[in-house]
Amino acid sequence: MHIVVCAKQIPDPETPPSAFKIDAANNKVIPAQGIAPVLSQFDGIAAEAALRIKEANAGSKVTVISMGAESAQAAIKQVLAMGADEGVLLNDPAFEDGDSHTTATVLAAAIKKLGNVDAVFCGRQAADWDMGQVGLLVAEDLGWPVAIIAKGVAMGGAGLQVQRVLENGFESLETPLPAVVTVSNEFGEPRYPKLPQIMAAAKKTVTNWKLGDLGLDAGAVGKAGSRLKLEKLFIPEKGGKVELMEGDTPQAQAAALVARLQADKIL
C-alpha cells in the first residue's frame, strides 16, 4: 500500500487575533513577528492516519508532498519525522498565488508522476483559507473516488473502510482503491516525533519538483490558471463593548444578567 499525504505549511492558526494583520493593498496576511509557520493541523492528522495503515500493513510506504515555499520543507520534515518514507516539495514561482483548482492540478500531477499510488490522504481543510476542497479536486483530477471528513480509516472490504463525520451522526463507507480520503480532527491526535526521529528526518533529502518536472503548462497553474479570484481580504469588525455584570456575589451578578436579558426581552 503506497499512501501519499498532502501536507501544507500555513501561518500558525493559534496566532492571537491581536497579532493577525492584513496587507490590504496586496490582499495578503502579514506573517506575525516571531510566530513560525506550522504544518496545517488536519494534515498532521492525515499523516497519522496514513502511518497507522502503514504499520498495520507490512510493505507499505508513505510519501509526503507539499506545494509551497522553500520553508515548507519544515512541514515535510515533520511528517518524515513522524515516520513517512519520502518527501517531495513542489516549489516553483509559477505555482504562486493560485486557487484550490491550480493547487489540485499541481498535486495531482505530482501524484501521477510518483506512480503506483494506492491512496491520497489530505486534511479536511487547510487551516489558513479553510476551503476544504483540494482533496476533492485532486480526486476528480485523478478520476478516483473520495471519502471526506474521516474520523476513522482502515484497509478492508473493497479497499478502504472509512467512518465519516456527518452533521447528524457518523457514516460508514467503503471505497475501492485507489481513493482519496480527507481526515478530520475527530480521528485523534497525531504522534509527536521523538528527537532521534527528528534528527533522522533532518538528514533525509527532500525531492524538489518544478513546473517542468510535472509537465504542466505555466498557464494552467498559479495565478494564471486560477478561476477563483480574491478581490478583497479584510478583518471583520467585532461587536460592541461588553458590559460586565457587577455584584459582590455570583447571585448578584446572575440577577443583574437576568434583569438585563429581561429588559431586552430575550428571556
Binding site: 479553510d130 473520495v146 447528524n168 447571585q251 436579558l261 430575550i266
Partner: protein, 319 residues
C-alpha cells in the same frame, strides 16, 4: 444583472430543509429577473417541489437511491440539472453533502466554487464573501468561469416566500457509485437542534470535566427545553465531553440564535466563526481578558461553578 440560479436542495421528512428555503430566498434576490430553479433528489422530491418557495422550475427524481447522499449519484443528476437550467449561479448548502458536492461539481463543470459563503451579492458581478483564517478575516471572491458555484452557510439569507415550483422536470434515477455506504449511526441530541434553537448555551474546555455539561444542560432546561439547546467548543468535543454533532464553529455548526451563552469558552476565532451572528452573546469566563468578551454584549467574570448555578436559580425565580 439577471442571473439564472439553480439551488441544490436537500429534503428532510419529505420537505425542503430550512437551509434549502434560505438558499431559495437568496436566489430570489440574486436572480433579479432571471430564473430560479431547484434540484430535489430522493423520496418525495416531486411532492416537495410544490413547497420549494421561490422556484419556478424543479428538477426532481423520487428515486429512493438518492436518499442517503452518495455524492457520485447526486453529481450525475446535478450535472444534468445545471445544463438544463442554464444556470450561471449554483447555490449549495454548506452541509455534509454540500461540502462534497460543491467542489466536485465545480471540477466537472470546469469552474470554481467558493466554499462556506456568508454573503453573496451582485455588485458589478457576483461577489462571494466567506470567513478565512479561522474567522480572523473575511475574503471576498469573484469567479471567472461559469457557472459560479457557492456553498452557503446556514442563516445567510431569509427563507423564500411564495409559491413552489410550477414546472417539474424529471431527472434520471440514481446511477452507480463507486463508494458504498455500509452503515449509519445517528448521533444528535434528542429534541431541539442547536441550529433551530432561539437560545444556545455552549460549554468549553474550561468546564474541566464532562460532568460540567450536566450543569450547562440544567441551565438550558431552566431557560426552557423548547427554546434552548446545548452546544460545545471543539476543545470540549475533542476531549470527548460532548458529541461532534453539537460542536459550534468553523468545523462544526453555524448558529444564529437570539441568545448565545458561552460558558468557559475562550472565544477563539474558529469558535466565533460559528456563533458571531447571534443577536446577543453572553460570556461567562474567569479570565477578564478572554477573547470572548470582545464579542459579548454582557459578561460575567467568574468561576462557572459558582455563576451558572446562581444563574439557574435566578432564571427560575424570574419565571
Amino acid at each position: 444583472m439577471a442571473h439564472n440560479v439553480l439551488v441544490v436542495g436537500e429534503l428532510a421528512g419529505g420537505s425542503p430543509t430550512s437551509t434549502t428555503l434560505e438558499l431559495l430566498g437568496g436566489a430570489q434576490g440574486l436572480a433579479a429577473g432571471g430564473s430560479v430553479s431547484v434540484a430535489l433528489l430522493g423520496t418525495g422530491a416531486s411532492a416537495a417541489a410544490a413547497k420549494a418557495a421561490g422556484a419556478s422550475k424543479a428538477f426532481v427524481s423520487d428515486d429512493a437511491g438518492y436518499d442517503a447522499v452518495k455524492a457520485e449519484q447526486w453529481l450525475a443528476a446535478l450535472e444534468v440539472a445545471v445544463d438544463q437550467s442554464g444556470a450561471d449561479l449554483v447555490l449549495i448548502a454548506q452541509s455534509s453533502a454540500g461540502r462534497e458536492i460543491g467542489p466536485r461539481l465545480a471540477a466537472r463543470k470546469k469552474t470554481a466554487v467558493a466554499m462556506d459563503c456568508a454573503k453573496i451579492e451582485d455588485a458589478g458581478g457576483l461577489k462571494f464573501t466567506r470567513p478565512a483564517y479561522g474567522g480572523n478575516a473575511l475574503a471576498t471572491y469573484s469567479i471567472a468561469t461559469s457557472p459560479a458555484i457557492a456553498t452557503v452557510r446556514a442563516k445567510s439569507f431569509e427563507e423564500a416566500t411564495g409559491a413552489g415550483a410550477g414546472e417539474v422536470v424529471q431527472l434520471p434515477a440514481a446511477g452507480a457509485s463507486r463508494t458504498n455506504i455500509t452503515g449509519m449511526e445517528k448521533a444528535v441530541s434528542a429534541g431541539l437542534q442547536i441550529t433551530d434553537a432561539t437560545v444556545v448555551v455552549s460549554g468549553g474546555r474550561g468546564l474541566g470535566a464532562p460532568e460540567g455539561f450536566k450543569v450547562v444542560e440544567e441551565l438550558a432546561a431552566a431557560i426552557g427545553n423548547d427554546k434552548a439547546a446545548v452546544g460545545a467548543s471543539r476543545a470540549a468535543v475533542d476531549l470527548g465531553w460532548y458529541p461532534p454533532s453539537q460542536q459550534v464553529g468553523l468545523t462544526g455548526k453555524v448558529v444564529n440564535p437570539d441568545l448565545y451563552i458561552a460558558v468557559a469558552i475562550s472565544g477563539a476565532s474558529q469558535h466565533m466563526a460559528g456563533c458571531s451572528g447571534s443577536k446577543t452573546i453572553v460570556a461567562i469566563n474567569r479570565d477578564k481578558d478572554a477573547n470572548i468578551f470582545g464579542f459579548a454584549k454582557y459578561g460575567i467574570v467568574g468561576d462557572w461553578k459558582a455563576i451558572v448555578p446562581a444563574l439557574i436559580e435566578e432564571i427560575k425565580k424570574a419565571k
